[in-house]
């Protein structure tokens, strides 16, 4: 069989090398080649989607090759319902981020780093070996650091460094956590392995040890997500990054953290997750409310979108730690949705900045009159971000909230307030930027070009499509999520409450089984 997954990582990596070797002066050629490689990766990701067997819960298209035998490390890749759409999202967004925004200097470096970043992100989503996962996790850092530092705005060097150091601190703990897990597993079973499935099924750690190791993992993921209170790198990094960088940062990189929680946290440390869930739920809810409130008072449009990410990712965290099948499905779906809508928002803000050279909300106004198409696209994307029914954002948030309501009622109630706040800060910002009569330079605001429309079109189609008919996506997510929740139940004292029974959390001990798939 054709090794789709290996090819998916190799293609952008080769593209990065190819671009790096091309002459600097031929910017158009560089862009075309970069686009070609990223499109090839996009085609491969769609091919994976086609090859994917909807009904199966386990890993598919697995490719495994021994790498460092002495340490039990192998090149092991696989895809399941949880990673599938993140893969497709990554595949689709990178070409848009490469050709969408204008790059003002050194297009070659920009494209090369972007492709390397894509290889790293895909690697993280596909790795089924903890060592390999950590490698890609670290690989992601370097290109992003350079993208922010070399192509960003005024405070770029500061923002890049802050991003790098925050994430590295998390990585340090993750690294020790992975090693501890592998060696403790070896002590218990006699074989040293970094294989995710072997470690997850083995469950060889004592309860208190598992909690510490989970915390080491969680620290790293929490910084990446980011979860309140370690989110402070995010507004700086998002705001100072170039448009393409912000798009990828928000749409893909933040998902590495939430994906980490789902794939590694829940699978490897079920009991620890169950025990510590209230802490993370609380932090998630704080993130939702705090992110929304801070977004409301931002003067800088890009910073506003950045803080809205903190709020949105809070929903994903709540969905993950709510530990209900529906909530987790919603969380996984919301990862994709947030990627689409926030990626699109950053693209639009980038276009705005290109035209007006300011992101200050106070300097803008009345743009709807002069650029109706731009305003219309912005409206759709914004409404999707708010979570309007009929658009993609609604489906995920709704699933998270009803799922969590069953298992962790009061946290869900508090999180619901965030939905209202999202409407508040986005609509208010929209009102100030687009309504009224255009003053000064705003009166000469150019309409969307055809190139920009072409970049936005796929995203708008996805926003509407996923909002109206999310079932095909949910069908593919559901078996894997159900299997994961069952795994958590099998290896902990947690039992998922039955929807509608009216009780919460632990009252349901004893009932088990598979709810949720395809509901």
């Amino acid at each position: 069989m054709f090794p789709y997954l290996t090819a998916l990582i190799v293609v952008p990596a080769v593209g990065a090398a190819a671009v790096a070797l091309m002459p600097r002066s031929r910017e158009n050629v560089v862009r075309t080649v970069g686009l070609a490689f990223s499109l090839a990766a996009a085609v491969l990701s769609v091919a994976v989607l086609v090859e994917f067997d909807t009904a199966r819960a386990g890993y598919q298209l697995v490719s495994e090759h021994p790498w460092i035998d002495a340490w039990g490390i192998s090149w092991k890749l696989g895809v399941d319902g949880i990673s599938l759409f993140l893969l497709v999202l990554t595949g689709i967004l990178f070409p848009l981020a490469i050709v969408g925004p204008k790059v003002h200097h050194d297009a070659k470096g920009y494209v090369a780093w972007m492709l390397l970043l894509e290889a790293g992100c895909l690697g993280v989503f596909l790795s089924l070996d903890l060592f390999l996962f950590f490698l890609f996790w670290e690989v992601v850092l370097v290109p992003m650091y350079f993208l922010i530092g070399a192509w960003g705005y005024e405070k770029r060097v500061y923002a890049a460094l802050k991003f790098f150091l925050y994430t590295m601190v998390g990585s340090a703990l993750l690294f020790v956590g992975i090693l501890a897990l592998a060696f403790l597993h070896q002590r218990a079973t006699g074989t040293l392995t970094f294989d995710l499935i072997a470690l997850g099924e083995g469950q060889s750690l004592a309860e208190s040890t598992a909690r510490w190791v989970f915390l080491a993992f969680a620290a790293s993921f929490a910084i990446k997500v980011p979860i309140f209170p370690v989110h402070t790198w995010l507004p700086d990094a998002h705001t100072e990054a170039p448009t393409g960088g912000s798009v990828i940062l928000a749409a893909v990189l933040l998902k590495l953290g939430t994906y980490g929680f789902v794939r590694f946290g829940l699978f490897l440390f079920p009991q620890a997750v169950v025990d510590l869930a209230p802490v993370f739920l609380t932090l998630g809810v704080i993130g939702i409310l705090y992110g929304a409130l801070v977004a409301t008072v931002q003067r800088d449009l890009k910073r506003l979108v950045a803080y809205s990410s903190v709020a949105h990712l809070g929903f994903i965290v709540v969905g993950t730690f709510g530990l209900s099948t529906q909530g987790l499905q919603g969380g996984v779906l919301q990862m994709v949705n947030h990627g689409i809508s926030t990626g699109a928002l950053f693209l639009l803000v980038g276009m705005l900045y290109e035209r007006r050279h300011t992101r200050q909300i106070a300097d803008l106004g009345g743009i709807q009159k002069v650029a109706p198409v731009f305003a219309a696209v912005f409206t759709v994307v914004m409404l999707s971000s708010i979570g309007l029914p009929g658009l993609n954002g609604f489906v995920g948030e709704f699933l998270v909230l009803i799922g969590t309501f069953v298992s962790r009622r009061w946290w869900a109630v508090a999180a619901t307030v965030g939905v209202i706040l999202a409407a508040l800060y986005l609509l208010w910002a929209y009102q100030r930027v687009f309504h009224g009569s255009p003053r000064g330079d705003n009166a000469r605001f150019p309409e969307m070009t055809w190139r920009e429309r072409a970049v936005m079109a796929p995203l708008v189609v996805l926003i509407v499509g996923l909002g109206v008919y999310p079932q095909p996506v949910l069908d593919r997510i559901a078996p894997s999520v159900a299997a994961l929740v069952r795994h958590v139940e099998d290896h902990s004292d947690y039992r998922q409450p039955t929807p509608g029974s009216g009780s919460s959390t632990e009252a349901e001990a004893g009932t088990s089984g598979d709810h949720g798939a395809g509901e």
């Binding site: 490698l135 590295m168 703990l173 020790v176």
Partner: protein, 495 residues
């Protein structure tokens, strides 16, 4: 008078050392005949050939000590040991000779320092280092230490017209002699406590009667001081920044690689193998030294604006990582330390190779400003330096990452979680200052106007050295299995 009984000399067991010393002798004789003539790169080429020959000799010995029928052996009245471990260090030090000589060639010419003496000293100090790795007797360790050090004292002051170089040599000599005295006193105390200087005899003696008396522990402490100085571990690191900064750049690279490896070869063997029974005595001390080296090395490197000084501090923190492996006191830990030293040799020599090239004539442009906009003028060189720096920071798909992975894995395996976390966090701090150089190279503009510096030229020899180091750093980053096996089978002969 009874005839003096001479031990049988097993020449072949000493082959790598003999190749190096033989090369040095040939070179010094040739040098007197060719004095004043323009020999081009002949001396450097001969040194590289000698280093390669010693590498070949090491490979020959490797076949003897590893594999199905091969095994470690003692020679020369048990004063010298040939085991996988000593062969491994032979490879590390000979690689340092090859790359060091390649970097030095053009440097010596532009600085007007041609002559065979430089290479003779380099070969001799490497021979001393190899002897230390092969020593099975504290006296032989001391002999090797002195051969290594005396040659290095002279090399540090080899740039005769630079006051800094003279200062570095004096500083290194005075403090080095002091530490050698400590080492010797340690040898005397250990002899007093156990009745022998032979490592095998000491180990056997300690197994029979576990001594915890002061004389032995005092001796152990003094040995640690003497060797700690050579490997530049905190708190015996004070000389490092000044000596590294003042010495000619290629010498600094050679010193950072070879002297550190040689120091560790003795340190690891003496503590892990000979004094294994006293593990509980020395483990906490090495734990503290490792933490101090990691923290001091990386934190003080952050405030440096001189790249050479920064690399000096970073080499202190690298010593900390090697100690992390030793502190674990397991086979995996020692193998990790060995792998770390091999990876480090290429990273650090490559880095100082770049420093040598960028400093141009005069060897004094080491400020961060000299690296401004290097990516625009010399993209290849800037990229190479970036790889070395990122490898030292431990970024994946470089040998440096796997080296950290190995030693920290060993620490975690022996449940030194705190040490592992400290090591990783100092790696974050270290990343900060490595990245600062990268930022200056890629994200700052060159200085314009009359300050514009002379173009950076990459001489062939140094280019080759950088290429070799780069290839090793990246290739091992992708396909480490081969070197992992090498380090794993390079076991210490248990005495």
């Amino acid at each position: 008078m009874p005839p003096l009984e001479l031990p049988e000399i097993a020449w072949s067991q000493l082959l790598p050392v003999l190749v190096l010393i033989g090369g040095a002798l040939v070179l010094i004789v040739a040098g007197t005949f060719l004095e004043g003539r323009n020999v081009g790169s002949a001396y450097a080429a001969f040194t590289v050939a000698t280093g390669a020959g010693a590498l070949g000799a090491s490979a020959f010995l490797w076949n003897r000590v590893s594999g199905g029928h091969g095994r470690a052996s003692l020679a020369m009245a048990d004063a010298v040991v040939v085991d996988g471990y000593s062969v491994f260090f032979g490879v590390v030090i000979c690689s340092a000779v090859v790359i060091g000589a390649l970097i030095s060639d053009d440097y010596l010419r532009t600085e007007g320092l041609q002559g065979s003496e430089f290479y003779v000293l380099m070969l001799l100090s490497a021979a001393g280092g190899l002897l230390m790795a092969q020593a099975n007797d504290l006296i032989i360790v001391f002999l090797g230490l002195e051969i290594l050090s005396i040659a290095l004292y002279v090399l540090a002051g080899y740039h005769r017209r630079r006051a800094q170089s003279q200062e570095a040599a004096i500083k290194y000599f005075v403090l080095g002699a002091f530490s050698s005295a400590f080492f010797l006193y340690g040898v005397a105390l250990v002899y007093g406590a156990t009745g022998s200087t032979n490592l095998g005899f000491i180990a056997g003696f300690l197994r029979q009667s576990t001594l915890t008396e002061g004389v032995l522990l005092g001796g152990l402490a003094f040995l640690l001081v003497g060797l700690g100085f050579k490997v530049a571990a905190v708190p015996f690191h004070m000389w490092t920044p000044d000596v590294y900064e003042g010495s000619p750049s290629p010498v600094t690279g050679f010193m950072a690689a070879a002297a550190k490896a040689a120091g560790f070869s003795a340190l690891l063997r003496i503590f892990f193998s000979t004094f294994a029974t006293n593990r509980l005595d020395w483990q906490p001390i090495l734990w503290a030294m490792a933490v101090l080296s990691l923290v001091v090395g990386s934190v003080l490197a952050v405030v440096q604006t001189n790249v050479k000084r920064m690399l000096a501090y970073s080499s202190i923190s690298h010593a900390g990582y090697v100690l992390v492996g030793l502190q674990a006191a397991t086979d995996r830990g020692i193998a990790g330390s060995l792998f770390y030293l091999l990876a480090y040799t290429f990273m650090v020599l490559g880095s100082f190779g770049v420093v040598t090239i960028v400093s141009r004539q005069g060897d004094d442009r080491h400020g961060l400003d000299a690296y401004r906009g290097l990516a625009r003028r010399r993209p290849g060189l800037a990229f190479t330096f970036t790889v070395f720096l990122l490898a030292q920071a431990g970024v994946p798909f470089t040998s440096g990452f796997l080296a950290k992975f190995y030693v920290i894995g060993a620490a975690v395996e022996s449940r030194s979680y705190a040490l592992a976390i400290i090591a990783m966090l100092t790696a974050v701090v270290a990343t900060f200052f490595y990245l600062r150089v990268v930022v200056v190279m890629y994200m700052s503009d060159e200085i314009e106007g009359e300050e514009a510096p002379a173009p950076v030229l990459i001489p062939g020899g140094a280019g080759l050295a950088l290429g070799l180091s780069l290839a090793f750093t990246v290739l091992v980053g992708f396909l480490p299995q081969f070197v992992f096996d090498f380090a794993e089978h390079a076991t210490v002969l248990r005495l």
